[in-house]
Amino acid sequence: MAFKVTMPRLGWSMEVGTLAGWLKRDGDPVQAGEALFTVEGDKALQEVEALESGILRIPPDAPTPGQQLPVGALLAYIVQPGEPAPFEVAPSAQTAPESGHQQPAQLEGPASESVAGVPSERNRLPSISPRARRVASELGVEWRWLKGSGRSGRIVERDVRLAAERQAVPRVSPLARRLAGELGVDVAELAAQQPGKRVQRADVEAAARQPTREAPVGVVGIAGQVLPVSDIRRLIAQRMVESAHSTAAVTLTTDADASQLVALREQLKATLEPRGRLVPGYTEMLVRLTGLALQEHPLLNAFWANDEIIVADAIHIGVAVDTEAGLLAPVVRDVPHKSLEEIARELEALVEKARARRLAPEEMQGGTFTLTNLGMYGVDAFTPIINAPQSAILGVGRIFSRPWVRNGEVVACPIVALSLTFDHRVVDGGPAARFLNTVREFVEQPYLWLTR
């Protein structure tokens, strides 16, 4: 049977070798022990001997010198005189040449993991020993509110067991728990202060008004009381700063003659009130007329996003509402398609919800423009901050009788200051001013609304 001449392993860790050259030719007789071919070594060519005597037969498709081959790769055959070489026989009689070399399995890259966001101070849980966690789960103790007695504040088994003993009745009402979270009150501490008694809203609110003793870091030498910061306050702070830093805010102000607007309101009041119907107020009127103005100046109803300006299809106007908890801006959707009464009704409901802290998230999202009315506080012109990611906000001041020149004469006239802050990235001063003019026009000549 033909003897296979293969690439030898010339070193314990050798996996591949390069055939350098043949020292015999196809058909030559060879003796066992004679040098047959050479392999490239680290420093010099290595001669490899024949292990059998016979006739050397090199297949036509044999590896050629210079080729790098795995150990065990077939190079040639040594046959006995008269014996045909395997590659001269019909394919069915041939044995497949060995490769002996496996492709390494494709390694899959590590699955990319999204990095979890770093929890805020508020969200970090106290540390707890595994045993305490297990016992808490067995006894149904909510351990997140517990203070740990372990060194470094760790909650340990004894803390959980103590809590379980005291926990016959819920010690914190759900409302108090939520309020405590918002006002930054430690409800566990409160509960500990009144063992056995349920912690309620009043307790939390009282605690929130208490000063704490720690002076804020970075504020040196100023005596004062530290107010806890609620979630809402924190959010407002964050968004205001964001807006201030990301927009190119410019404020234009103008004074509008509100006498027609005032007259309109009085007429509506006189007619609707006796009928028991809702009388629209100035805010909803302003929402209505702003919506109409935006239809004519769509660039003020746009967003700057990723180097693009997106002009919104619809007009949803957010209205700033001052609540105990802070400034909220519920949105009146699709303003141009709503009647004044519809807007009034909607706004009334939204404001009540806002004051009662029952606004749903979707009622505060999606606004394309914001209106902020500080008139009831006696403010005239001011510089409202854009409600990002919108690109403009209209501030409305008080309607207040002031000296005014009409037809060359000084008269007493109700005047309202209009302050428009716009994002100069999206729109320039000219178009912004033109929008403001349209608003003023609609304030001074309300009958124009009928034509829009």
């Binding site: 293969t6 030898p8 392993r9 010339l10 070193g11 314990w12 290595q46 292990l51 150990v71 002996g100």
Partner: protein, 328 residues
């Protein structure tokens, strides 16, 4: 050579041929990539294993070294078991666990070859200790190379064996090189046999390529040991024809002339010539033995290739013998 011992001589020839042909087949397996790691062939040294092991019973013990294929075969490991072991098969003499350097067949007294040079000397002394303690006439043999004689194990093992009169034969196969370091560079005393004197035991130098000389010297050493007269050190001067381990270079540290000179002293060729010259056997008998051995080796190769690999689930078996312990 005594013609009356014809059966002994022919058995020696058969053993040497078995080793030679088996090694040649293993060389081919190695070149084809079927064997990995160390493969230290015994080609050229066959006379030593054959000449010594001819005097051993199955209950005598042999401890061998990394170049142990010859000792294994001469002691009773079959070529089938040996080849299967080097191919990593379950039917190997070590169940595929050991490969070339960790061969075991205690059933025939082959107590293991070792990948570490030296311990076989002291282990064999321990085999001698047991034989004495249990009051048997068993003997214990250590096979090692010139590289081991400068190791502490040689000193400590020979010393204790002599001090306690243990039935041990220490067989040093001095093939002039430890891997590629010439023996004459590793020591200033180039005679291994002379070291016996330092421990108070007889040391003999023998032509390791003359199987008759080895047979006679080993016979005397075994007789002494069985009689309770203590250990012997045999230095067999021989030569390995191939590289230290397969895949390594054969020359560079030695010259082709030197290799060829020793090839001309092939122990098998020399012995066959002598058998013919002395009229102990004829050409036909020799060829018959050659053919018989050839068939066995071919069968062993086929057996080894066709044997299955061991079951991976058994890999931790036999780590401990006691399983009755709580938590063992």
């Amino acid at each position: 050579m005594d013609p009356a011992l014809k059966e002994v001589w022919l058995a020696l020839l058969r053993t040497m041929l078995m080793i030679r042909r088996c090694e040649e087949q293993l060389v081919k397996f190695y070149a084809a990539g079927a064997i990995r790691g160390g493969c230290h062939t015994y080609i050229g040294q066959e006379a030593v294993a054959a000449g010594v092991c001819a005097h051993l019973r199955p209950d005598d013990v042999v401890f061998s070294t990394h170049r142990g294929h010859g000792h294994a075969l001469a002691k009773g490991v079959t070529p089938h078991e040996l080849m299967a072991e080097l191919l990593g098969k379950a039917t190997g003499c070590s169940g595929g666990r050991g490969g070339s350097m960790h061969l075991f067949k205690p059933e025939v007294g082959f107590m293991g070859s070792s990948g570490i040079v030296g311990p076989c000397i002291t282990l064999a002394a321990g085999g001698g200790y047991t034989a004495r303690l249990l009051k048997t006439d068993r003997v214990s043999v250590a096979f090692f190379g010139d590289g081991a004689v400068n190791n502490g194990a040689f000193h400590e093992g020979l010393n204790m064996a002599a001090a306690w009169q243990l039935p041990v034969i220490f067989v040093c196969e001095n093939n002039l090189y430890a891997t590629e370091v010439p023996f004459v560079k590793a020591t200033r005393n180039p005679s291994v046999a002379s070291r016996g004197q330092a421990y108070g035991l007889p040391g003999l130098e023998v032509d390791g390529n003359d199987v008759v000389a080895v047979y006679q010297a080993a016979g005397e050493a075994v007789r002494r040991a069985r009689a309770g007269d203590g250990p012997t050190l045999l230095e067999c001067r021989t030569y390995r024809i191939r590289a230290h381990s397969e895949g390594m270079r054969e020359v560079g540290y030695r010259t082709p002339d030197e290799v060829n000179a020793w090839k001309a002293r092939c122990p098998i060729t020399l012995f066959e010539q002598r058998l013919l010259q002395d009229g102990v056997a004829d050409q036909l008998e020799i060829e018959r033995i050659e053919a018989e051995v050839g068939a066995i080796i071919a069968d062993a190769a086929r057996f080894a290739e066709e044997s299955p690999k061991p079951d991976p689930a058994t890999v931790a078996d036999h780590l401990y013998s006691q399983t009755g312990f709580h938590h063992a």
